[in-house]
Symmetry: C2
Subunit: 286 residues, 2 copies
């Protein structure tokens, strides 16, 4: 099995690591628009050889497109357009309906599998790649019926080798859920970072007074704007209402604080505490 | 050195652990309004004996009041009122100006040291106590000039033994900074938890799709309402404007998303990225 990876960052690099050690891929070639990333990926042993996008498609079995979602769409279309292309193509983007719509009528649509492994850190680049990143994480695969069985099974087998849990989902459902469970978290964290930076001009005070709570809540504010700008833009349809609901919740806190409605503040927090049970996996419905 | 602890939870219990292993305290007695917590603290070896609030003050050198900030105020006043009281008294609350104002004219004000160790987790109770919780964390001590030198030095020495970094601060400054760097984080997290719980009625979907990003951002939503309701209430003067600024930042994201102002969204995130450098301790001013 020969694997090609376009985008040698955290996700592409981490897939390379486990695809190799699990035995899924015997050879891995890669491309990144940043030449330094190619060199790093070579010296870290993530890839065996560098390869151009043009040549990759005729020589590998599977191509992972692991680049920001706006560029990914174009690259996927370019790959499908290549007449010599024989590889199955999959992406890892945080939004799925845009890319699916973009290629829905492409004659080679069935060579593409829409994927989203829900894993990552706030770090970027080949050096951010880690072993076992997808171990016991969820991977969403969308529009199974539009991929050929061979292509779908190939991508499914990759993620099985990476010890991920596969869940099938409609692309629109995926995007709606991600708006709440992922994209909103990022905005809440970016906005928290901005608020504190705005108010606290003394950096030493932020450093000294930041407990583990602030560090945890603001962690996603370290995320890459290159990656996140197109995600937020592509998912604005679902994200804007999510953001509005979030702001409403914050307004409730503010109103209750202003009017010293202590019992109401307590109740909001007690309700939010339910998230502890759910994140532990103690599911009461579903 | 005999130590008394009122409130055998995460903070009180963790102080007990390190006070004992560091050799700061030879005997530790404790009180908690919850009898089960007393029993747990005894069986975990956090305290040697249970003791009433009434008796503690006449028999120990130092009392740590580690209970929610609303009750803490009353208990500190009660302790100072005890004629037989010989102990230095310190608290660990997340708000400082309220308790300082409450006792500013008390004839025994100098027996009290206003403290706030900035450390913790989202867990509660004696079983949440951990070793080395304060190691290399910041402890804010307020209004040094209103404590006797003996009392102040005793509390300072405790935290030195706990390997914490002591920083002196005005009580109002403390509360203003905490509104941004801690209390706002908690509200942002509680509100995020509420928004997701509200929208995602299927708990399995939350569990499956929650990446480490959501888990990190929503972690503080697991925090105790008993502890956090009075903190937010007591610090509403500084917290309401902080919350307003936070909502403004979120509104900016929403406006830019609505009008597809991609460059502006990118710039907000790039600005927020500065928090990475500061939290690493690479301080450019301060």
């Amino acid at each position: 099995m020969k694997l090609g990876i376009i985008g040698l960052g955290l996700i592409g690099g981490s897939i390379a690591k486990d695809a190799r050690t699990s035995g899924f891929a015997s050879t891995i070639v890669g491309y990144d628009k940043n030449k330094q990333h190619i060199n790093e990926a070579l010296s870290l042993g993530l890839i065996d050889n560098a390869e151009t996008i043009a040549n990759m498609n005729a020589t590998v079995d599977l191509i992972i497109v692991a680049i920001p979602v706006d560029v990914a769409r174009n690259v996927v279309v370019d790959l499908l357009n290549q007449e010599s292309g024989i590889a199955t193509i999959t992406d890892v983007g945080s939004t799925k309906s845009g890319i699916c719509k973009r290629i829905e009528n492409h004659p080679k649509r069935q060579m593409f599998v829409a994927g989203h492994p829900i894993a990552g850190t706030e770090n970027a680049g080949p050096s951010a790649a880690v072993d076992h990143l997808f171990n016991n994480k969820t991977v969403i695969l969308c529009e199974q019926e539009k991929s050929s069985k061979a292509s779908f099974d190939l991508v499914k087998n990759l993620y099985i080798k990476l010890v991920a849990n596969i869940r099938l989902m409609d692309a629109e459902d995926h995007d709606r859920h991600m708006a709440y469970v992922s994209h909103l978290s990022h905005i809440s964290s970016f906005a928290l970072g901005l608020t504190v930076l705005d108010m606290e001009k003394n950096e030493k005070t932020i450093f000294d007074m930041a407990g583990s709570g602030f560090s945890s809540t603001v962690r996603l504010a370290k995320s890459s704007p290159e990656m996140w700008t197109p995600i937020l833009e592509h998912n604005s349809e679902y994200l804007i209402p999510a953001l509005e609901q979030y702001i409403d919740q914050l307004q409730d806190f503010k109103t209750f604080l202003k009017h010293k409605k202590t019992a109401d503040i307590y109740q909001l927090m007690a309700n939010a505490n339910e998230i502890r049970r759910i994140l532990k996996g103690d599911i009461q419905n579903g």
